[in-house]
Amino acid sequence: MFDLERWQEIFEAIRKNKLRTFLTGLSVASGIFILVILLATGKGIENGVAKQFERDAASRISVWTGVTSQGYKGLNPGRFIQLKNNDFDQTVLKYQDQLEYKSSIYRIWSGLTTYNNENGSYRIEGALPDYQFLENESMTAGRFINNYDQENYEKVAVIGQKVYTDLFKGKKAIGEYIDITGIKFKVIGVFTDPGGEREEARIMMPLSTSQRVFNAGENIRNIAFTLQSTGNFNRDVEASNVFTTQLEDQLKTRHTIAPTDNRAITVRSNLQETKRFYDLNNMISLFFWAVGICTIIAGVVGVSNIMLIIVKERTKEIGIRKAIGAEPWSIIWMIMHESIFITAIAGFLGLIFGLGLLELAGPAIETEFISNPSVDFNIAISTVFILIIAGAIAGFFPAYRAAKIKPIEALNDD
């Protein structure tokens, strides 16, 4: 392989046959280029969809209620189902071994909030300390609600980043008092949410406080849980499915709802959604891989086609070389060495162009469904090697046949 003399022979052949070299190289380079772009787009879609799912905890199970759609046990349809603290407490008691995070939520959709001369209308949510993790929130300042706040009906508020910029304009917020629907609350923390501005235009307070302040009594709007993870995704999905069915049945019994009524109580698991998303993502990446592999096959066919033409074109030269004393294997190596060299250089050029384009244009492509298109460098490198090996194999057979041609036949070939 590292025979300097043969390298000189090959460079000479390449230098004197620029068009042939260019065409072989082009088909390989474009194949790799297209593959890189394809894989990157697939990755971009995957990232984009994944972003949509980061808003809340991936394994969150939510409960909310509506209006009954069927009459049951003498009760009329059209009855609104109101969840109470009891519903939450009993569920927690029953499933305490399984639950990881848990919170019930009381919510006011728009609460007028004022700080000095700034004001705005935000979603107000009363919740328990675990709600931070159920909502996937991280604190940029201060702390979240704790059990002491909940037990003592503390008038404290944790505000979203959007609320903070609207009202405080970058000034210190912790320890300041804001006015929510006419009542003073002390700001104890600022949070950000991967869901973006919509999720950050919220104010959180202890559930107990919200129920008292807004005259809600024992009422709650939602319940949210996550289950302890077993470390196995499929087993988690299964456990989550069992839990949701059980919880739904139990709540339906408690509130005298027909078992077939799907409107009154909904228990939904994010994990099921996540699984569906993973399945979708697998399909997408499978599709892109299939297209990519077809591209590679097309590239290999292209290379072998060109190899065939090269051998045909060089038949006479091969005959001359053999008459002069070239051994069959030296002919085979000469042709394969050249093809491997060209495919390798062209493959890496295609790779560099593809990666370069991603580097330049990638950050500019930022839509809702495509985010940060990128490609795994190892995968890209291995495809280049696969192409080189396939090209070598594809080149071998014409080369082998060429080496078998009798010199006189080759010399008579005009």
């Binding site: 000479e12 001359i320 070389r321 008459a323 002069i324 070239a326 051994e327 078998k404």
Partner: protein, 235 residues
């Protein structure tokens, strides 16, 4: 140098078999210059191909420089061709993307000679055929006579025992033909054994012995008085 006994060769084309050589007995001593003559179809090119180990006989024995040439695999055949034989073809058969010098250096490449020595030796043979200043030119920049002289230099480069020329002047006009023959005669004068296939009488008479082939057998084999190409040029 060359020893042939009852050589037979036939070609199969479809169902019919063409018997080309029908028992050739023939020998050439070192330093001889022999021309093989005959009309087309007489089997002279086939004989030359067998002598050049480019083709194999069906029957009979062929001994080249004391080595029996029979049932060789491709690798050994290639090695023998490189070591024992130099070829000159009617259509020159130069590699068109290589310079004159690189063409001449080719057989040495297959002998495993290093590049610097290869080019040095190739240059020496190009000087010998008077084309030193054309060394860097490609074959298509050379005239027919020049191309054939490059081919002769190439045939000589590996210092073979026997030079085989298949109609070396077939594609050249008579003046150039004589110039080429003059070089071939000089090489013979230096002791190289030369076998030459031709159908031109004047060319044949520039060798020292003429073998006449007809329908696959030798009908005449006799020495002739060599006509020097140099004198023919000045007539």
């Amino acid at each position: 140098m060359i020893e042939i006994k009852s050589l037979h060769k036939s070609y199969k084309t479809g169902s019919t078999s063409l018997h080309v050589l029908k028992g050739i007995d023939f020998s050439v001593k070192e330093g001889e210059m022999v021309s093989i003559m005959g009309s087309s179809g007489s089997g002279k090119s086939t004989l030359l191909n067998i002598l050049g180990i480019l083709d194999e006989a069906d029957e009979g024995t062929y001994t080249l420089d004391g080595v029996l040439i029979k049932n060789l695999n491709e690798k050994i055949a290639a090695r023998y061709r490189n070591k024992f034989l130099g070829f000159i073809f009617q259509s020159f058969n130069l590699i068109n993307y290589k310079s004159a010098l690189d063409n001449v250096a080719m057989p040495l490449y297959y002998q495993g000679v290093k590049r610097a020595e290869r080019l040095d030796r190739a240059m020496h043979y190009l000087e010998k055929v008077g084309l030193a200043e054309w060394a860097t030119h490609l074959p298509n920049e050379l005239s027919g006579g020049q191309k054939q002289r490059v081919a002769i230099a190439r045939a000589l480069a590996s210092d073979p025992k026997v030079l085989l020329a298949d109609e070396p002047t077939g594609a050249l006009d008579s003046k150039t033909s004589y110039e080429v023959m003059e070089i071939i005669q000089t090489i013979n004068d230096e002791g190289k054994t030369i076998l030459l296939v031709t159908h031109e009488d004047d060319i044949a008479h520039m060798t020292k012995r003429i073998v006449h082939l007809k329908d696959g057998i030798i009908i005449d084999d006799s020495p002739v008085k060599q006509q020097r190409a140099k004198t023919a040029l000045h007539v």
